[in-house]
Each structure stands twice: as C-alpha cells, then as structure tokens.
C-alpha cells in the first residue's frame, strides 16, 4: 500500500486564528491534512522596541520591556535590570535581590500555568485552561498588591525596585503557596496522564538535542530535549546560587525525549521547583533594607557594551546594551527566547498532521509580543 498524494493546498493559519496565541500567520502547505511545509510570517505586533529604546532614557526602556512579553513582564524587567547593573557595576542589597527572585518565580508560575492551560486548550480540553487561569489570578492579585498593576508592572528598576513589598505580602504569598501546591497535582492529573492527551502529544514533534541547540532553543523547550541547561544554575545571576532546586529535563516518559508531552510536562515540574524557590526566598528574606538604596541619581552608564542573559519562563532572555556614555542607550537588542523557539517550528512541525502542528506550536509556548518586539 502506497501513500496517496493529492494536490497540495496552501492554508493560512492566522493572523486571526484561535490557536496562534496572538497575531501570527503560519502559511502551511498541506497535502490533505498532512503538513509539508510551515512558513511563519510575523511582525503584526512589531512595536519598534529597539528603535524606541534609542530615543528614550535608560529608565524609560523598562516599561517597554514589560510590553514585549506581556505574560512574564517581571522576568523581562529582571533581565534588563540585571544587564544594566552589570554594565554600571551596581550592587543591590539582599532584600532587593530576594524580592526580585520571589517576583520572578511567581511570574514563572503564572506564565507556565497559562502555557500548560493553553496547551490543553489547543488539544481541545477547555477546563484545565480555566483552572490554570483561576490560580494565575491569585498570582496577579499578589502582584497587584505589590505594585498596583496586574499585567505590566514596571516594578524592577535599575538599582532597586519601584516599591517595597507591602505589609502582609509574605504571609499572603505563603498562604497562596499552601493553596496552590495541591492544585498543581490536580492540573497534572487532569492533563498530563489523560490518555487522550498522551496520545495526542507523546512522540509528536520530537525535537532532538542538536536541533534544539542549533536553533538556539532555550528554556523549558531545550530542557525537554534532555539538555540540563538553566541559567539559574549554569550561570547564576542575582542570588539564584543560594537556593536549592532541581532543573527538570525531559525523560521521554510517555514517548521520545523532546516530544510535545515532555515540553508540557517539564513546565509542570518547573512550577513545583519555583514554589520551592519562593518558599526559600521568603523564609530567608532580610527584614530590613531600603529598596531604593542603590538607585543611581542618574542612569549614565560608562561607554561600553554588555550582553547579559537571564532565564525567563520561556528561556534565555538576552539584552545586548551598547552605551555611548549618554543617558540614552545607543542600541538595545533583545534576544527573545520565543523568537528562537518559533524558528524551529518548520523543522519539527513539517510532516505532521494539521492538528499536530497546532499542538507543537502550543507546546513551544510562544508569545508574539516578544517575537515581534
């Protein structure tokens, strides 16, 4: 029995489509339902982040970073301030570092919750998505308590934070974690071990190690391919070297290492690891310390350039900042993890069925704001 080939058809997925997670256009060539080629077209959300950055002061870049990855704004802030502090050689006090780590990890949980929920949604399971959103709301409440904003925070500043955490934040966070931990198991039970979901995601869209590295894929997607690579461990920034946590990697429990199920499951375990980090950070947080202590009077970094990387929920976020000694950046380049993750789609997605391509896209966890910048 041979395979019957029909006429090829060009299909546009997007720019408006329920499964593209934003405004992305995928031009796919299909033979029946089998996809033979995927060409992503992006730029629909291009807001000239890099051009804007060359026209505003260093402080004013931070709100722009918020808007790049609007699902993990804290982590985007974090990456920028880490880069700036390296460039200007600023040391912030311990309390600031602890608060930053707590915020970044809460953000990681929120982002992974959304990702796992949406992955289920892409496969047709609606309920886990709403469960995930319900718990994400609690995290956004915590952020709102801290800085008044629920989505775009502008919370981390170069040399400090915009506000100290309010009274009762630590208690509320502990309370949230106690509530949240059983919910992760619930989410895992309804999704990860569901027979249909396993059938739909195991062995699908396998991304081998070397492909992942060559395409610059980072973060949970790379770890799902079996590479133990996490900047929080391998190149610790801030105070991540103080905490005890594991870096989960894909083990191919339900299929092959690096399949959709691994990419999805690594995120679930990472949620648990983040909970561990938050607990440690909250417990060891110094009681006193001014969050504005190290704020420079004027942000005027010395002439030079810096490339600094941090681990966001989506992978290595790099900022390349070129300074000419003036208060306005000469060039800011953001190396966004979702950009590299999307580039691998054609490599691992071609040859699968249309439904699988959307599952693979969902498992890569892209945010268009960050791809288009």
């Amino acid at each position: 029995m041979g395979v019957v080939h029909g006429e090829e058809m060009v299909l546009n997925i997007g720019p408006q489509h329920p499964a593209t997670h934003g405004v992305l256009r995928l031009q796919v060539r299909t033979d029946g339902e089998v996809v033979s080629q995927i060409t992503p077209y992006m730029g629909y959300l291009h807001r000239c982040f890099e051009k804007h950055s060359e026209n505003v002061t260093y402080e004013q870049v931070i709100p722009f970073t918020d808007r790049c990855d609007y699902l993990s704004s804290m982590s985007m802030n974090f990456g920028y301030v880490v880069a700036m502090e390296k460039l200007m050689d600023i040391k912030v006090n311990n309390r600031v570092e602890h608060i930053r780590v707590v915020m970044a990890e809460l953000q990681r949980i929120a982002s992974h919750l959304l990702c796992t929920g949406v992955f289920g949604l892409d496969l047709g399971a609606f309920t886990p998505f709403l469960w995930a959103l319900r718990d994400r709301e609690r995290i956004l409440d915590l952020f709102e308590l801290t800085c008044g904003a629920r989505l775009l925070y502008n919370y981390m500043w170069v040399g400090g934070l915009s506000h100290d955490i309010p009274t009762g934040f630590v208690e509320s966070t502990f309370e949230f974690l106690d509530y949240f931990e059983p919910k992760v198991d619930e989410l895992e039970n309804i999704l990860a071990h569901n027979k249909i979901l396993v059938e739909r995601s195991a062995d699908i869209g396998v991304m081998p190690k070397d492909v992942a590295i060559s395409y610059g894929v980072t973060g949970p997607n790379l770890r799902a391919s079996g590479v133990k690579w996490d900047l929080r461990k391998n190149d610790p920034y801030s105070i991540y070297d103080k905490f005890d946590f594991d870096v989960p990697i894909g083990e191919g429990k339900k299929g092959t290492v690096g399949d959709c199920w691994d990419r999805f499951y690594v995120r679930i375990i990472e949620i648990r690891e983040s909970v561990k980090i938050i607990r440690q950070a909250l417990a060891s947080m110094p009681k006193d310390g001014d969050v504005h202590q190290s704020l420079p009077k004027k942000l005027r970094p010395p002439k030079g350039s810096i490339y600094a990387r941090t681990e966001t929920p989506r992978g290595d976020l790099g900022y390349y900042i070129e300074s000419d000694g003036s208060p306005i950046p000469y060039r800011v380049k953001m190396r966004s993890p979702a950009f590299t993750a999307l580039s691998v789609l054609d490599e691992i997605g071609a040859g699968w069925l249309l439904s699988d391509v959307l599952a693979i896209l969902g498992s890569l966890d892209i945010v268009l704001g960050e791809i288009d910048r």
Binding site: G120, F126, R134, I196, R200
Partner: protein, 358 residues
C-alpha cells in the same frame, strides 16, 4: 399514534364534520407545532445546563444576573434567551464567493434531520408521534441526513477551514454509524423487534430486565453505542469537524446569526434524539426501574426524561473533561477497535440467545 389520536378526538368533538381533511391536517400540524415548542424549550434548557454544568466543572459561576430587567435573570436563567435573541437579530451574512443556494439549504437540511427523528421517539407509553414498526431503523436513517448537511455547509462556504470540517465530519459520521448500528442490531436481536414501543415493552419489570443487563456483553455494547453516538453528534472528544482551536469553527466558520443558531440547535436536538434512543434501547425507556412502583403512564414520561437527560448530562460532563482526538486516532478507534468488538458482540449475543432459548 398521536396523529390518529388527535384525528379521532377531533372527529368525536365535532361529529358533524367527521372525516374532514382539515382535521387530518390539524392532527398532523399540532404534533409538529408541539414538537417545535418542545425543541425550543429543550434548547434553552440544555444550553443553560451546558453553561452551568461547565461552570461547576470549571470552578466559575457562569451567568449570574440578578432580578428581571436588562440582566440575565436570576442565576442567569434568562441567559440562553438573551443568547437566542442576539443570534436571531444578528445580520445574516453570506460570503460573496459562497454557493448561495447550498449555503442556505445546509442549516435547514440538518434541522430537518434532527426534527424528523423526533417523530419516532417514545416520550411515554402513549406519547409518541408515530409509532412506526421500524422506528429504530427510521431514526438511524434520518439521522444520517446530517452528513449531507455538514458536507454541504463545508463545501458551499468556499472556505478551506469549512471544507476541512465538512470532510472530517463526513468521514467521522459515516464511520461511526457502523458501530452504532451494530450495537443496535444486538438490541434488535434480543427484543426481536424494530418498533420502539415493543423494545421498551420487552424491558418491563424493573431494573434487571433492562437490555443493558440482559447478558454480560450488553454493558460493552452500550458503551460502544454511547461513544459512537457521541462521535455522531460531534461532541468532544470527537468534535473534530468544528474543532475550535484547529479549524477555527470547522463547517460553521462562515455561518452567523440565525443559520448558526439553527446548526447549534440541531446539534442539541440530535443529542436528545441519540440519548432517547440509548435510553429506549438499553435503559428501559419509560419503564420504571422498580417493577410495580411509580410505573403509571405519567411517571413513564418522568422516567424517560430522567434517563435521557442523565445521558445528556454525561455528554456535557465528558465534553468539559477530556481533550480532543486526532483524525487518524478517531478512525483507528472506530475501524480497529469498535467494529471488531461490535461484531464479536453480535456473534456472542447470538450464541447466548440460542443457548438460553427464547
């Protein structure tokens, strides 16, 4: 049955016009009007329960308007009504490049399929519009009309997503009719009749006389039947023809307003029909689960409705719990799992009947 009943009643009420053709027309139209009314009320009810059941499952409140007026009513009771009104007063859009006659025909065709199936559904001991001798066969036959409607909708929209949806639904519904049919064959073998009322009459005498408990193979047959009709009505996990996250909305992508509402209503109407058939064929129809207790004709309607709505509830419950299958897995399940097991069941039950003796 009901048509004859009304006709006779009219003849007796007005003996001077007895045998008038108008009486016959009235006797035919009255049940249809009643049926339409029932479907509308049922539609509101089932949409409301879909919203509320999903809300309970998803840990949210769902529509919770309070008081009359512009809100959605207390506990959101008026939400389906508001949705309905919204859909019916929406602008009716037909894409410029669509095949207009077919595009308009498709929703009517699917609704006709759903509506005519109701004719043979036994609501109670006496309440059945036409008690035809091949009732169960008739429902399967008319139910397949949906395939034509879905392909028409997918093809005439002139939209690639709709086409995908149409093709998927054709493959899916035609395939799943086979295991569903095979399962009903087993029932027919046991009850020795195609007549809905006779099948129910066979199950008289309490819970353990129901066909589902007739022999050890029947629970399997019932499960195969239920899953197959789930696929036939395009419900999750078999909602591939309209899979929202892949095909945008599948065959209904280009439909809006009234036509869309009709597609939706037909889906829910089909749910009722297949649940009623399942209740009839396996769960004793309007028979009480207790012999000689609550077994009057009025209670019969209650039992029939409870069984049907329980099955509808299970359908809703499943929908909000599991993800969706992929198209090849769907076919695999049908042709390589259900049909062999179904055929084995036919064989095994046949031997069982012979050995047990009738």
């Amino acid at each position: 049955m009901t048509v004859d009943f009304i006709f006779d009643g009219l003849n007796q009420l007005f003996p001077e016009f007895a045998g008038n053709d108008i009486f016959l027309i009235i006797a035919m139209l009255l049940p249809v009007a009643a049926l339409l009314g029932f479907i509308t009320v049922y539609g509101f009810g089932v949409i409301y329960s879909e919203i509320k059941v999903s809300s309970f499952i998803q840990d949210k409140t769902g529509p919770m308007g309070q008081g009359p007026g512009l809100h959605a009513g207390k506990w959101g009771l008026l939400q389906p009504v508001a949705d309905g009104i919204k859909l019916f007063i929406k602008e009716d859009i037909i894409p410029a490049s669509a095949d207009k006659p077919l595009f308009i025909l498709a929703p009517f065709l699917i609704f006709i399929g759903a509506l005519t199936s109701f004719i043979a559904v036994p609501f109670g001991e006496k309440i059945i519009i036409t008690d035809m001798n091949i009732g169960i066969f008739y429902i399967i036959g008319v139910g397949s009309l949906a395939v034509i409607a879905l392909i028409l909708a997918g093809w005439s929209s002139n939209n690639k997503w709709a086409l995908f949806g149409g093709m998927r639904s054709a493959a899916q519904i035609i395939s799943y009719e086979i295991p569903a049919g095979i399962s009903l064959v087993v029932v027919i073998m046991i009850a020795s009749s195609l007549n809905m009322q006779e099948i129910i009459a066979y199950q008289a005498g309490g819970l353990f006389n129901w066909i589902i408990f007739d022999n050890p193979f029947m629970p399997i047959v019932f499960i195969i039947f239920f899953i197959s009709v789930l696929a036939e009505t395009n419900r999750t996990p078999f909602d591939l023809p309209e899979s929202e996250s892949e095909l945008v909305a599948g065959f209904v992508t280009e439909y809006s307003g009234t036509r869309y509402a009709i597609f939706f209503l037909s889906e829910y109407a089909n749910m009722f029909v297949v649940s009623a058939v399942a209740a009839t064929a396996f769960l004793g129809g309007w028979q009480s689960p207790f012999s000689n207790f609550l077994n009057s004709p009025a209670w019969g309607v209650f039992w029939m409705m409870s069984k049907t709505f329980f099955l509808i509830f299970v359908m809703i419950w499943v929908r909000w719990t599991v993800p969706r299958l992929r198209v090849d897995q769907l076919m695999h399940l049908c042709w390589k799992v259900f049909i062999p097991i179904g055929l084995f069941n036919v064989f095994a039950v046949a031997i069982w009947i012979v050995v047990r003796g009738s």
